[in-house]
């Protein structure tokens, strides 16, 4: 197969936003910004262990940011939209790239977390929507009353319901898996790979993902165990 057939027809090439590589760069940058949010949000949430006064003061502080809060929210929403847009267009392309599947197919080099990015992502999305309805707007607040402003009460009451906690823990494990792959993959997507640093980065991604997941999960676990009341 050494002869290349060049047809006389030429088509315009995809630009940055149209190419798979450009879209992956979009995914990496937006994923990184969302990662920064995940870290910040965790640090804020952990104040639940300092008691109601601290946590509610933190909640008030965020709400008093006014315009700034909406700027941050705007950036995050934009990132989510772009991240999901890239997910969708690439997913469709990848599905079409192999119309006939294999009878037998084995994975030889990738981990479970690597291969399930297109599952962990959308489930995290479903979780984020549920989470906003529960703790931000208070639309869904099973088995208790949502008190605007009393963040501490809402957290404790929310997580006292076992299935709310279970769903939260499940979604955060998936987020951890998403980050375990994503945190090093984003460097690769942006063209940064180094024979010595990348293995270290992969290891770091695993530990950061574990720490983040453990940090978030500590809250519902503490509520269920009765340590935070």
């Amino acid at each position: 197969m050494s002869t290349a057939v060049a047809s006389p027809r030429e088509n315009r090439a995809p630009g940055f936003w149209g190419s798979t590589n450009g879209r992956k760069a979009v995914m990496a940058v937006t994923g990184f910004i969302l990662f920064l949010f995940v870290i910040g949000h965790l640090l804020g949430n952990l104040q639940v262990f300092d008691g109601p006064v601290r946590l509610n003061a933190y909640g008030r502080f965020l709400h008093n940011l006014g315009e700034l809060l909406w700027i941050v929210r705007g950036i995050l929403i934009l990132c989510v939209v772009l991240h999901i847009w890239a997910t969708f267009v690439l997913w469709r392309r990848n599905r079409d790239a192999r119309p006939i599947g294999y009878q037998v197919k084995k994975s030889v080099a990738s981990s479970y977390a690597d291969r399930t990015m297109y599952w962990s992502g959308p489930i995290v999305l479903a979780f984020v929507i549920f989470h906003l309805l529960e703790f931000t707007s208070g639309t869904i607040h099973p088995e208790s009353r949502f008190i605007p402003g009393d963040v501490y009460h809402n957290v404790v009451a929310g997580f006292s319901v076992w299935w709310v906690s279970a769903w939260y823990i499940f979604a955060l494990i998936l987020l951890g898996m998403h980050l375990r792959h994503g945190l090093w993959s984003m460097f690769q997507s942006l063209g940064l790979n180094h024979p010595r640093h990348t293995p270290v980065l992969k290891q770091a991604a695993l530990w950061i993902a574990i720490l983040i997941t453990a940090g978030y999960i500590s809250i519902p676990v503490s509520v269920l165990a009765g340590w935070v009341r």
Partner: protein
């Protein structure tokens, strides 16, 4: 040794294909996978049946012609080995092997275990030329190249274009192949003048061919007979992102993937 080969048989792209089981009683463990198919084909020919079509040329692991899936792994279970170099002693006596062609929209089916990999040729073609002076052969040391650069370029240049990376990728992405081609020239001083343009054009062609997008999971490197590292994909992304910006005023065109079989004419 005894083996059972379950092989995908399909006369032509229009025909309906199916798996056919071929029990083999007398497999010499020192034969290669392709020689094993040769033996099978001889017995098929004796019985008046159609031999199994597969691609091959050098049979020493350097040309990139051969390749198919063996029980779900491109080029079979031995790492860094093409099917022509894979000897049968690596299988267990009595094992059942499933042989399938590469499956990708961008590799149109031809026959049995043969697919059309000319998409790769068009990606290389899209890369264009490299500026070199013509005339007498240049002095060997005229352009100094560091040892580390030379090694990395050589590692990337080892790609034989077999297509296993695409076959193994759950997304059907050609990122490892294209990355290897972009990296092997992009690392060397001789490749610098056209570096941006080459990356942009090869990526554009890769896209036009319909390959999927890379998710950096590394299945490709895992099956690559030349162990091309994932690093070349980062290299491609790097050169593409810079190139796409610096060449933003250029109109890039791609060669339309015109595959004769696809259009029903031979």
């Amino acid at each position: 040794m005894k083996l059972t080969l379950t092989i995908w048989r399909q006369k032509d792209p229009g025909a309906k294909g199916k798996f056919v089981r071929y029990p083999m009683d007398n497999v010499n463990p020192e034969m290669s996978m392709l020689e094993c198919l040769d033996v099978l084909n001889e017995s098929l020919a004796e019985r008046g049946e159609e031999p199994v079509a597969f691609e091959h040329d050098c049979r020493e692991g350097i040309c990139g012609s051969c390749g198919f899936m063996i029980s779900g792994v491109a080029h079979g279970p031995l790492p860094a080995t093409t099917v022509c170099q894979l000897t049968m002693r690596h299988f267990k006596d009595g094992e059942e092997l499933v042989l399938e062609p590469w499956r990708s929209r961008s590799f149109p089916f031809v026959k049995d275990l043969v697919v059309d990999r000319r998409a790769f040729d068009r990606i290389i073609q899209a890369g264009g030329y490299v500026s070199v002076s013509t005339g007498n052969a240049p002095d060997g040391n005229a352009i100094p190249v560091g040892k580390e650069e030379a090694d990395r370029a050589m590692d990337a240049a080892a790609c034989i274009g077999c297509g296993a990376c695409v076959a193994a990728c759950p997304n059907g992405s050609a990122a490892l192949f294209t990355g290897a081609k972009i990296a092997h020239l992009g690392i060397l001083p001789q490749g610098q003048p056209e570096r941006d343009r080459r990356a942009v054009r090869m990526v554009a062609q890769m896209h036009a061919e319909g390959f999927g997008s890379c998710t950096n999971i590394g299945e490709c490197t895992g099956v690559c007979p030349k162990e091309i590292p994932l690093e070349v994909i980062a290299r491609m992304n790097h050169d593409y992102l810079y190139g796409a910006w610096r060449e933003r005023r250029q109109v890039v065109t791609t060669i339309a993937p015109a595959t004769d079989w696809e259009f029903g004419k031979k």
